[in-house]
Amino acid sequence: MFEIVFISTLNGILYGMLLFLMASGLTVIFSMMGVLNFAHAGFYMLGAFFGFEISRRVGFWPGLVIAPLLVGLIGMAVERYGLRRVHRHGHVAELLFTFGLTYVIQQAVEMVWGKLPVDYEVPRSLDFPAFTVFGTEYPAFKMFELLISVAIFLVLLLVIKRTRIGLVVQAALSHPGMVAMLGHNVDRVFMLVFGVGVALAAVAGVIAGPALVTQSNMAGLLGPILFVVVVVGGLGSLGGAFIASLLIGLLQTFAVASNASLADLFGSSASAGALQTYLSDIWNVTVAQVAPILPYLLLVLILIFRPRGLMGTRET
């Protein structure tokens, strides 16, 4: 019992930190610009594929630096020539724009790299088990992933709380109008913030690419969960995103570890009826089976009962 709890906790934290790595950029963008970047997972995927291309030419480590830079540049261009233009049509138009962008990124990646997974390998220097608990090995690369996530969290906190640009970002969170009046070039700040935000997604991509599968559907796989994280955490709250990432990571791993079903809870349903066959589906489903849809349930519940999210500062 303790073994499964311990392992599940560890797995949950590892998965949660990967989620946070992606959610951090999304949160930064939303908190500054009020834009929920639907295409965020797309940039994450771009990061993974750029990382793959660079790593097979010059190695993993240069990729970790160059790929996010490239993606950040693309992001800045998208903001400058696309998002800024639709900004005046309001948030719905912005959301639709980034929604369209997910299609385009997805298709462009498929066009260039095809739909099959590419052979993106863990760097040699990290390809060994870091430690073993209860006979389960934990690869060094996963520990590296964890380290990077925590580091990014701390750096972002520092930047936001301690630096000038961070103060501008924070000010924009509560008084969007004031920042412009104070003479900051809001346009340039927006462009930069969007670039940095998607570059963070790309970092996640470069790291997750070898650990998971680098394939053209990786964006679609993680995208929806990402929104769950930022909405549950509270749109625009970095701390909230951090907590929500962990929460969702743990929720999923513990749910998977459980084999309980309604049938176990109440004994197998003996009541006969026309609905019996339909109900039997629900009745016999285990918690583990529904684990990956639990986050969506959580999302709906949070939005009903605590629309600001766990740590949000304003209603969505």
């Binding site: 639709v86 719905v92 639709l96 369209g100 299609y103 462009a108 066009m111 929806p224 489903v285 709906v300």
Partner: protein, 428 residues
């Protein structure tokens, strides 16, 4: 005291005092078109495509009740489409053998009911919020339902879905609904009725209040309206019509599948509605027809058609936020001023270079694709070429660059001419 009797400078709208033809002419014309189409396009493919178009028109219009009329961006509208279809299919199977006195033509009502009921249930949750939160709730609910559909196999039929036989019901008037043409007319009739109903809905007090809530929800509360109730009713009714569309799809294909309530279907209706134009009742109709047509045909022309599709959508969001219908209504002041003919002579200045640039762009895309799938020989617009040779690339760059440059100049000129003409029309 009453100054209302003074003659106003412009006549205010009058209560349907226009002639019968002016009021209903367009609907009569529409009915004639629906009836006549199969005699013009009679191939099996054209029939099934037009059947899909009719279905999608209803679906897109129902979506626009949310996005266009009430300002609600939903990412989970296919839930109601799918559920409407599933309930219709299940009832068709339950009544197969023709024991119950329910002909096929009545089955869209089943979809309507299912759509309405689930619209009410989901709406009660989702419409508590508006804006981004509403969008996220619908996204979450869409994912929830789509994922659950794979778990609840007895109802949703797992991967295979649930299939049915539409001919296995009572058949009044000898209508078997075996041939596609009969199904087309069934869909056409329901499409016509649904269109009329949804149009009528925009011209009711509720329809106008939806617009008011879209424009300024805060103000709507201060003129006595509960915005949540408005959103809720709009959501439920839009579920109803989505359910009709789902049932029509079920009748057309005789199979429902859990993919039809998933994110792809929800995304597809957003694309249709927005490309067509959300600001105009005809917009989603245009969008549904165009997008369905493209979906049917583009895949025969290019393998990367979904890329073009995404780009088209982005282009509309950026440059024509009112969609195709919006571009058409831009011509209205010109028509009124009687100078459309003159102005439209200038349109090729923008359109031709745009097409040239598009050709250059898609040449690049197609060559990139050719290289990435391995190979180099291809043909583009019937011209055979080698994707590894520098010449086609040079040509593509010239086409794209030159076309783009000319387009920018041409578009500016067209904009000027258009603006002048509108001004001129106003002065008259």
């Amino acid at each position: 005291m009453s100054r209302a009797s003074d003659a106003p400078a412009a006549p205010v709208p009058d209560a349907g005092r226009g002639s019968f033809l002016a009021a209903y002419g367009i609907w009569i014309a529409l009915a004639i078109v629906i009836a006549a189409l199969p005699h013009i396009f009679s191939s099996g493919l054209a029939l099934s495509m037009m059947s899909v178009m009719g279905t999608m028109i209803v679906f897109a219009l129902s979506y626009n009740m949310l996005l266009g009329q009430t300002g609600l961006l939903s990412f989970g509208h296919a839930v109601f489409f799918g559920l409407g279809g599933f309930f219709a299919v299940h009832l068709m199977n339950a009544l197969s053998g023709g024991e119950a006195p329910m002909p096929l033509i009545a089955f869209p009502l089943v979809g309507a009911l299912a759509g309405l009921v689930f619209g009410i249930v989901v709406g009660a949750v989702a419409t508590r919020r508006a804006g981004t939160a509403f969008a996220m709730i619908t996204l979450g609910i869409g994912e929830l339902v789509a994922s659950s559909a794979l778990i609840l196999r007895s109802f949703f039929g797992g991967e295979e879905g649930i299939s049915t036989d539409r001919t296995d019901l009572i058949q009044p008037f000898g209508l078997t609904f075996g041939p596609q043409i009969e199904v087309y007319y069934l869909i056409g009739a329901w499409c016509f009725v649904s269109m009329a109903a949804m149009y009528a809905l925009t011209r009711t007090p509720f329809g106008r209040i939806c617009n008011a809530v879209r424009e300024n929800p805060e103000r709507a509360r201060f003129i006595g309206y509960n915005t949540q109730t408005v959103r809720f009713i709009a959501f439920s009714l839009s579920g109803l019509f989505a359910g009709i569309a789902g049932a029509l799809a079920a009748i057309n294909f005789e199979i429902m599948n859990s993919a039809q309530l998933g994110a792809a279907e929800s995304g597809s209706v957003i694309l249709m509605t927005y490309i067509g134009g959300i600001g105009n009742f005809a917009g989603p109709v245009i969008g549904a027809i165009l997008v369905t047509y493209l979906q049917f045909t583009l895949s025969d022309i290019t393998d990367v058609w979904q890329l073009y599709f995404g780009l088209l959508f982005i282009a509309v969001v950026m440059f024509a936020p009112n969609g195709i219908a919006g571009l058409l209504t831009l011509q209205e002041p010109l028509i009124r001023a009687g100078n459309l003919g003159r102005v439209s002579l200038y349109y090729p200045l923008a359109v031709v270079p745009a097409l040239v640039a598009l050709a250059g762009f898609s040449l690049m895309v197609e060559m990139t694709y050719r290289l990435s799938v391995g190979g180099s020989e291809m043909s583009f617009l019937y011209v055979p070429l080698n994707a590894r040779a520098p010449l086609p690339w040079l040509a593509a760059i010239v086409l794209l660059g030159g076309g783009g440059w000319l387009f920018l100049r041409g578009a500016r000129k067209v904009g000027q001419v258009y603006g002048d003409a509108v001004q001129e029309g106003l002065r008259r």
